[in-house]
């Protein structure tokens, strides 16, 4: 039994403890501190990559303290790493490495706290991905959460971070407690906490109220983390104000981890019991598409660049959930690759925004108009990453979305392609509009919305503005990440490998055998046959279409005032401002209300359709 899975969590924890213990010594030795954190996260990334490669031939199972299950009952905690879970954890470690490198010259003054919290955050994400125990999942979820709340409020001298951290912490805590209630419910039925064992126990019977509601409560907490409408309201508050290197992790992996958790819980525990019914697809698909479109619309009207990127993350989270909802191996494989590609380009976009903030001291699209012309390399990287976000071939995002769409049309739901292209184009258009306006000075500066100007003006103390040149430690991670998104899309045979991993992820019987009996099934039984993961004309058309749509929308966004048909002063959708603002109100009472109402709606539909 290789100790790597345990070490991937424990090493960052030990390093965090060591840094904290040596606080007085390290406080003034920034370089030692940075170096230790970067090396630790890079080492974790390597460990996870090794696990990922090993897991390609069968789940890597690790029983803590050596308590192996006897007669199908687990008495200890296990890590069960498949290629997808190890891959997602590896992605998290890579992003932590990149953002720690970026932070090398970024923060004006930084205590050891930042490094400690980043490392505990990394450990939480890794443990969350690898664990095979439902309560252990909750523990790492909370470690991830607590570290993330604290990192959000890293600049407590400003208002925005405090609002963001409070709303983030309170909504996610409510979600975590609902999840814990679901865990207690399912434990009260099965007397087990191991996901495989629970799955085996509940799949013997028809699903009843307890199983349905336990599923509902557990995924609620995860969907809150995954920013699915109407549980998404905390996200723009938190992502817009956290330090930029932290935003990379929030948007790049933390949100996706919530959705991964929902998929894991479904495929390892509830899938067989609930019977993979059309109702599950229907509910998750509805939530996903609603999120994708709503997030994209909010994204387009935003002027605060970090917040704009946050809304684009919501939109993409919706696309991911829609892909998961298809329940097919090809759909899941598409989501996996899309998540990787999205994480890389989104991280690159955030890092470029960080460079702009570092050099020009603002993240307000209106006031930055044309002011970043001299940041040529940053502009190129930002534009390339924005095109990647719009699913331009052959970015990884393009491959992933192509498979989701292919899988949808096999399942007879080709119409969702339209919505996916629409939301990709809207999001890509908004980000390209920023690129064109800020880095190239195209078009007219957008009208200054006084409220948004006030919101953006606050971003000052994160980094000292107006440095002479961009440090290499900032631009290199951004460029490498954007290039990696392209490279991942060009890996030969990617489709077959990832789809094989997705088939295994969805094979509950195989997972059970691997965890509880230590056996590996040679031929996993797929619920839906594996689809064709080749690049088809339809997928190229869709990728090119959304990228072209994004360019057109960006052009319209920059030049619409000059169009002859529109008279000056016309604001599209101006009348909608009221309801839009009322929904995203920033008031925590509203957010909790929406959570309660959302759970009730999803629960009601589940109850009516699954009984």
């Amino acid at each position: 039994m290789t100790p790597l899975p345990a070490l991937a969590v424990v090493v960052p924890l030990l390093m965090a403890a060591a840094i904290s213990a040596l606080n007085p010594l390290l406080r003034r030795r920034r370089r030692v501190l940075d170096g230790a954190a970067i090396l630790t996260s890079a080492a974790v990334a390597v460990m996870l990559a090794v696990i990922m490669v090993k897991a390609a031939h069968g789940e890597v199972i690790y029983w803590f303290a050596g308590f192996r299950p006897a007669h199908g009952a687990a008495i200890g905690i296990d890590f069960a790493a498949g290629p997808l879970s190890a891959g997602l954890a590896c992605l998290a470690a890579v992003l932590v490495t990149a953002s720690m490198t970026f932070s090398w010259r970024y923060f004006e003054r930084v205590a050891t706290y930042y490094h400690v919290l980043m490392l505990t955050f990394l450990a939480g994400m890794t443990g969350f991905c690898l664990t095979g125990d439902i309560f252990d999942l909750f523990v790492w979820f909370e470690l991830m959460g607590v570290s993330a709340y604290a990192l959000t409020a890293y600049r407590p001298e400003e208002r925005g971070p405090l609002q963001g951290a409070l709303n983030f912490a309170i909504t996610n805590s409510v979600g975590a407690y609902l999840s814990l209630s679901g865990i207690a419910l399912i434990y009260g039925r099965t007397g087990a906490l191991n996901m495989a064992q629970i799955g085996a126990a509940i799949s013997r019977h028809r699903p009843d109220g307890l199983v349905v509601i336990a599923f509902l409560l557990i995924i609620t907490g995860l969907l809150i983390k995954g920013a699915i409408v109407p549980f998404h309201l905390w996200l723009p508050d938190a992502h817009a104000v956290a330090p930029t290197p932290v935003c990379v992790l929030f948007s790049g992996v933390m949100v996706e981890l919530g959705l991964y958790g929902a998929a894991r819980v479904y495929w390892s525990m509830f899938g067989t019991a609930l019977g993979h019914r059309a109702a599950i697809t229907g509910i998750l698909l509805t939530l996903g598409l609603l999120t994708a479109v709503l997030g994209a619309l909010y994204c387009v009207r935003e002027r605060h660049i970090k917040r704009l990127l946050a809304f684009s993350t919501i939109s993409h989270a919706g696309i991911f959930l829609a892909g998961i909802a298809l329940l097919t191996p090809l759909g899941l494989a598409g989501v996996a690759v899309y998540v990787a590609g999205h994480a890389l380009v989104k991280a690159s976009l955030f890092l470029c925004t960080g460079i702009v903030l570092h050099r020009l001291g603002s993240v307000n699209e209106s006031s930055l108009h044309g002011r970043a012309r001299h940041l040529r390399i940053t502009g190129v990287v930002f534009t390339v990453a924005a095109l990647g976000l719009a699913d331009l071939p052959w970015f990884a995002t393009f491959a992933g979305k192509g498979w989701i769409e292919a899988s949808a049309s096999v399942r007879g739901m080709a119409w969702i392609t339209v919505l996916l292209i629409l939301s990709s184009a809207l999001v890509g258009g908004a980000v390209l509009r920023v690129a064109g306006g800020v880095f190239y000075g195209l078009g007219d500066p957008p009208a200054e919305d006084p409220q948004m100007a006030e919101q953006s003006s606050e971003e000052t103390s994160e980094t000292v503005a107006d440095k002479g040149r961009t440090p290499l430690t900032m631009i290199i991670p951004a460029a490498v990440l954007a290039a990696a998104a392209l490279a991942v899309g060009l890996i030969p045979d990617l489709g077959r490998t990832v789809q094989a991993a997705a088939v295994r992820f969805q094979d509950q019987a195989g997972y059970n055998a691997a965890v509880l009996a230590g056996r590996h099934l040679a031929h996993p039984a797929a619920l839906f046959p594996a689809g064709d993961s080749g690049i088809t004309a339809a997928s190229v058309a869709s990728g090119v279409g959304s990228a072209a749509g994004a360019l057109v929308l960006a052009f319209l966004g920059l030049y619409w005032r000059r169009l002859p048909l529109l008279r000056r002063g016309f604001e599209p959708g101006a009348g909608l401002g009221g309801p839009i603002r009322a929904f995203q109100s920033g008031v925590i009472n509203d957010y909790v209300t929406w959570i309660v109402a959302g759970v009730a709606c999803v629960g009601g539909v589940l109850a009516l359709t699954l009984r």
Partner: protein
């Protein structure tokens, strides 16, 4: 009696959430969150209870005495630690929020919206 403890669980959750939704003071809201979490303790210990069984300590009783489930108690202990940790962090946020906003009314603690 068979389901009364679980009805209490739902009641605690409901009043806790009601408090959070109607709260006009962040400290009040944080304490309501504590109430929401306390419903999970009652649920956890409730599902692990066995009528007539002893606490799982075999210091001075024979090892084979029927005992209640020790696992949920360990889970509840973890839950209590999480409660303490999250509350402490929220209080720190609240103190700083009060300095910046000059109030703890959740309706006024809004810098970003729309």
């Amino acid at each position: 009696m068979a389901f009364f403890p679980f009805v209490v669980v739902v009641w605690i959750l409901a009043v806790g959430l009601y408090g959070m939704v109607t709260s006009r003071h962040l400290m009040h809201l944080i304490m309501c969150l504590i109430v929401v979490q306390s419903s999970t303790y009652v649920l956890l210990l409730g599902v692990g209870y066995k009528t007539g069984a002893v606490a799982p300590y075999f210091f001075d009783i024979p090892v084979h005495t029927p005992a209640v489930d020790p696992v949920v108690q360990a889970l509840a202990l973890t839950d209590v630690v999480v409660e303490a940790a999250v509350t402490a962090l929220l209080l720190a946020f609240a103190i700083q929020a009060h300095k910046r906003f000059g109030t703890l009314d959740p309706h006024e603690l809004v810098q970003l919206k729309g």
